[in-house]
Symmetry: C2
Amino acid sequence: MAGGPSTPALAIAVCEAGGLGFVAAGYKRADAFREEIAAVRAGTSAPFGVNLFVPAPEPADPDGLRDYVRRLAPEAERQGAELGEPRFENDDWEAKLEVMYEARPAVASFTFGCPDASVVNRLHGVGIAVWVTITNVTEALIAREAGADGLVVQGTEAGGHRGGFVDDGSDEGGIGLLALLRTVADATPLRLIATGGIADGAALAAVLCAGASAAQVGTALMLAPEAGTAEAQRVLLAERRPTRVTRAFTGRPARGIVNRFMAEHGEAAPVAYPEIHHVTSAMRAAARRRGDADAFNLWAGQAHELVEARPAGEIVRAMAAEARAVLERVSAVLRDPDTSAGRG
Amino acid sequence: MAGGPSTPALAIAVCEAGGLGFVAAGYKRADAFREEIAAVRAGTSAPFGVNLFVPAPEPADPDGLRDYVRRLAPEAERQGAELGEPRFENDDWEAKLEVMYEARPAVASFTFGCPDASVVNRLHGVGIAVWVTITNVTEALIAREAGADGLVVQGTEAGGHRGGFVDDGSDEGGIGLLALLRTVADATPLRLIATGGIADGAALAAVLCAGASAAQVGTALMLAPEAGTAEAQRVLLAERRPTRVTRAFTGRPARGIVNRFMAEHGEAAPVAYPEIHHVTSAMRAAARRRGDADAFNLWAGQAHELVEARPAGEIVRAMAAEARAVLERVSAVLRDPDTSAGRG
């Protein structure tokens, strides 16, 4: 949950409730990343993880990028905002790796790519477990080959950016979490962490049955007071509203609640991350400040309407307790010989 | 599984193994539907269900339809096949309803629409439970209003046609099964039957935890000897291959393994069901006969590579047994106080 919702307070609250809190490195300078790690460490003695964006392999096609920037110019003018430079950069990758080697969180998870085996080995050398976010079996096999310890298995339900890095020929619709967990479990022996649309304890119980050893939640924490979620987004998250996957805001597929900006620009948006992210960043921040929910990214998973506004620690504890209760109840039903699984 | 894979032998085998077998009415004349029901009744004393296609409300836009038929003409010529007439018809709807009122299966499930309350009432009057296939919460609420007893909750993972009938503004990517089950369970008190990418007992256990009282499987049975699956499709179903949702074959979104026909015509295909179904039907049947897997629809769910070639009864019994074992195992892990759900 880079880019706002993720805060040290949120990570601390999750850790203190028995979860594994995460520090989001994405979009930050390495210095700020180091400071957030220190803040979390000061607030909890429990283990925590960090998440990094793996840099894109090459800059975007300049023609598509230029056309889209031109298209957004009137939008920016109407909003009274400036478009940013379409910069290609690597999110301070090397410096952040150094911060990690030094700070030694329990887990380093990666998004948008798979780190080289050399990076994985160095992380292992200082006792950091490596998780790679994947969206299909091809990526799972690449991550296994690179030495990953765990796979963050991201279903199409997930809010925010798709974390994958190889187009395997499926459509952009993506693979549903349940089918993805089962096919990845069949293809690799790695530890699986399920993510995408997990908003309550019943869904947590479901992914544990489907082969995950844990669930990673994002949207489920976005209404917590500890989260840095914009107010206008909080209102819409709690409502029943459709989501779509779009490149309109950042040049990379991400799921959010449908709004005007997405509807007007989604079709035209090129594959151009992080360039488009930088182009729209200031405009989106301004829209967030003035509460214009039609003009910034409303990242949300497909179960967002179930999300509750309560302290993060309560959310984590309630999910765990509900998962246990659901598992006991369903096990008991199936144990009853008068009940058949086929007929339910 | 209308259109080939579904057979009376398959329904009988599923029923005898403790599942609820289904007779597919779609694409058949009412007489043939009546005969299949009689064949299933002769083969098992267990309850079974039937599935009907609800007719489309209006014919397709003629311009889009004409363009697509023109586009397919060289394809047909190359294959030495004939294009069919782009007929708009209602799949013998009234006659099939009469067959149902008379034959009284345990369950009537509906796809592509929600029957009127008058139809639901008449089915209830003769003791038939009514299930409606839904792909979003909007459809779930419509089905509840019409008096449905159960909802077949179809996730984006599902092979074959999307069974929904209302575009709620989400993208064609659709909603993942887990998120859909949880949001529908939150919105209605109806019995939920989960479907989409459920290929083994772990996935069955997962959907039971997520609020379903049963799972409906399709692809999972397609390699059984009792299924009428084409040989060329059997080979590809067992391999790891991407699937996509396409209107190329029938004018209605359906998920299948990516092949040449889908890749070449998918983008151009209009919303035009059942017209395009009739246009391509003979051409696809011919491709099926000559084993040309690039020229007919390879319907398959997103977990198709997990499907096993064994008798249908064994598949059903193994799924139920595995679901029980998974639930016992995961419950036991969560009962152990040293294990936290948050950390797995």
